[in-house]
């Protein structure tokens, strides 16, 4: 670079400008960069700013700086702690329910050859269906008096449940529906991962006298490492960002009482019901911290150091 005179640089520039690749690349990436700056990067940067000012909706330029006051207010706000508790419980129960079930169903799917596509087709069906429709559907099925689920429970002698209408069961009812809906998504990923494990691994284990359980625990699960890590990260992100179901399913959003009040709902309500934009964005950042920390920890703990 050092020995180049200005005329050399001009020559290089001229060569670049004459290349058709340069113009095509510019035509493709130019709009992309403008769009990302406008609708992705600058909203993120503006979020940082909004969290530390008292946002004035009509005169944004005159919003006074308040520092960390929103965060201090949050910590004294009881609904904030309720929403954190519900969100973490939601993500944890969703995780604990989903991972074993999805791995089990995938193992079943991998071990049958005939009918696999048919089963996959049907189990994946709830994934494609609109979440609002599913929420309404289960709101009907879970009606304590008229709902089909209680009728079925009664007919086999299990005591009926209050489901969405009771404080104790509402959150778990929503989680249960979510597991039912999302199961097929994770099953498809895990099944693909399991089918990707070379057959020789199983043959070698069989020769060594490993039974079906041993093959599952010693071959399938360890070799599934990368896929399992991905699924695990996706499941947690899914659980922490629940919103639609807790708006549509209970009698009022987040209800009954605050039983299903989650962080996304707090962000939404603070912003568009109470019009406290800065406060809402500060809440969103706390959610971000949870998502980020849990994801990083998972990647550190779970990510295998090998590949095949």
């Amino acid at each position: 670079m050092k020995g180049r005179s200005p005329s050399d640089l001009l020559l290089v520039a001229r060569q670049v400008l004459r290349k058709p690749q340069f113009w095509f690349g510019l035509a493709m990436l130019g709009p992309l960069i403008i769009w990302y700056i406008w609708f992705a990067f600058s909203p993120i940067l503006r979020a940082f700013w909004m969290a530390v000012v008292e946002y004035k909706i009509l005169q944004p330029d005159q919003s006074p700086f308040v520092g960390l006051r929103h965060f201090r207010m949050l910590f004294e706000y009881s609904l904030f702690w309720v929403s954190i508790r519900n969100t973490l419980v939601y993500a944890a129960v969703f995780y604990v329910g989903m991972v074993p079930l999805a791995v089990f169903v995938s193992a079943c799917l991998t071990s049958v050859a005939r009918g696999r596509n048919f089963y996959q087709f049907v189990i994946f069906l709830p994934v494609v269906v609109s979440l609002v429709a599913i929420s309404l559907l289960f709101k009907m099925l879970m009606n304590p008096q008229l709902g089909q689920i209680n009728l079925i429970l009664k007919s086999v002698g299990i005591p009926p449940s209050q489901f969405l209408t009771s404080h104790e069961t509402a959150l778990y009812s929503v989680i249960g529906v979510d597991i039912w809906k999302a199961l097929g998504f994770y099953v498809v990923i895990l099944t693909a991962g399991m089918l990707n494990i070379p057959e020789e691994m199983y043959d070698a284990a069989k020769v060594d006298g490993a039974g079906i359980w041993q093959r599952f625990w010693r071959v399938t699960l360890p070799l599934l490492g990368h896929t399992l890590t991905l699924v695990s990260v996706l499941i947690v992100m899914h659980g922490l960002q629940v919103f639609t179901q807790v708006v549509v399913m209970p009698s009022q959003p987040g209800g009954p009482g605050n039983a299903t009040y989650v962080m996304n709902l707090l962000v939404y309500n603070e912003a568009f019901t109470n019009l406290r934009f800065g406060f809402a964005t500060a809440t969103a950042f706390t959610l971000f911290v949870f998502v980020f920390l849990i994801t990083v920890v998972q990647l550190r703990l779970l990510r295998p150091t090998w590949s095949y």
């Binding site: 503006r46 069906l125 709830p126 494609v128 609109s130 429709a133 009907m140 199961l183």
Partner: protein
């Protein structure tokens, strides 16, 4: 003996899978039949299949709850966004996969990093951005923030890296223009991931709830999920109406799924294995 045990094992696994498949599909069957029942029969009847079929629910809902307008709005949003996302993702991915320029990887990482940020963080600032350009309460306000898809660019780049560069070089030697190479070589070779991406994008936008809820406030501009959620208060506890409304929302997606099942499954598998 061993063969018999193996047969029993296979039979048990099939039974388990059948039970799960049954659980997955049964609620929809109930909803389908329920939408053709009268309110009295739906809430009291023991039988799954309606004793007296009726289309009154559908008639009431179409004429009173603004469904045709919402259907149209959802169709416009989903189709426009799907078309744009597939094109922009393929074009950007091609440049990222096959061009060499200063700062390429850094730019790619910065773009990817936006996927880490939960949507809640940008909910308010993005609303302010959209309101500033006058798109709040317009379909454009739902369309513009999703014209590019980070996930789509990532997915397409993974695929395009696998296409040999020799093909592109051969085209250049023959004097083909960059646009010709992109539209006649790259696009035809990547129909599989593009179809998968299209299906996903369509579905996501057909079902999206949070962002349209923020942007679209007047009934005339609302999309299907919003109108459907509104049935809760419009028809309080009227399960017959809810079932009919849900069927109207779900039917197009189920049709699409029945036709494009392979693309759905392949799309998920591709992302799962490459990550």
């Amino acid at each position: 003996m061993a063969a018999l045990l193996e047969q029993i094992r296979v039979a048990v696994i099939h039974a388990i899978l059948l039970a799960i498949a049954f659980t997955s599909v049964m609620p929809f069957v109930w909803m389908f039949f329920g939408s053709f029942k009268s309110y009295v029969e739906l809430t009291s009847g023991e039988s799954l299949v309606p004793q007296a079929w009726t289309v009154d629910n559908y008639r009431a809902i179409i004429f009173r709850a603004n469904f045709p307008q919402a259907f149209w709005n959802s169709t416009i949003v989903s189709l426009v966004v799907t078309g744009c996302v597939v094109l922009t993702s393929a074009a950007a991915a091609y440049v990222f996969a096959k061009y060499r320029f200063w700062g390429k990887e850094q730019l790619f990482i910065v773009i990817l990093s936006t996927m880490m940020v939960p949507f809640a963080v940008v909910l308010v600032p993005l609303y302010v951005t959209i309101a500033d350009i006058g798109l709040n309460n317009k379909l454009g306000g739902v369309i513009v923030p999703v014209l590019f898809s980070t996930f789509g660019i990532f997915l397409m780049r993974q695929f395009l890296e696998g296409i040999p560069s020799d093909l592109i070089d051969a085209g250049r030697i023959d004097g083909a223009s960059e646009w010709w190479i992109f539209s006649r070589i790259i696009i035809p070779l990547s129909t599989a991931p593009m179809a998968a991406l299209a299906v996903f994008t369509f579905l996501f936008n057909w079902d999206n709830f949070l962002w349209p809820l923020v942007v679209l406030t007047s009934p005339q501009s609302q999309t299907l999920p919003l109108v459907l959620a509104g049935l809760r208060s419009l028809y309080w506890e009227r399960y017959d109406m809810w079932a009919a409304g849900s069927m109207l929302t779900v039917a197009p997606v189920m049709l699409l799924y029945a036709v494009a099942q392979k693309q759905f499954i392949r799309g998920i598998t591709m992302t799962g294995l490459k990550a």
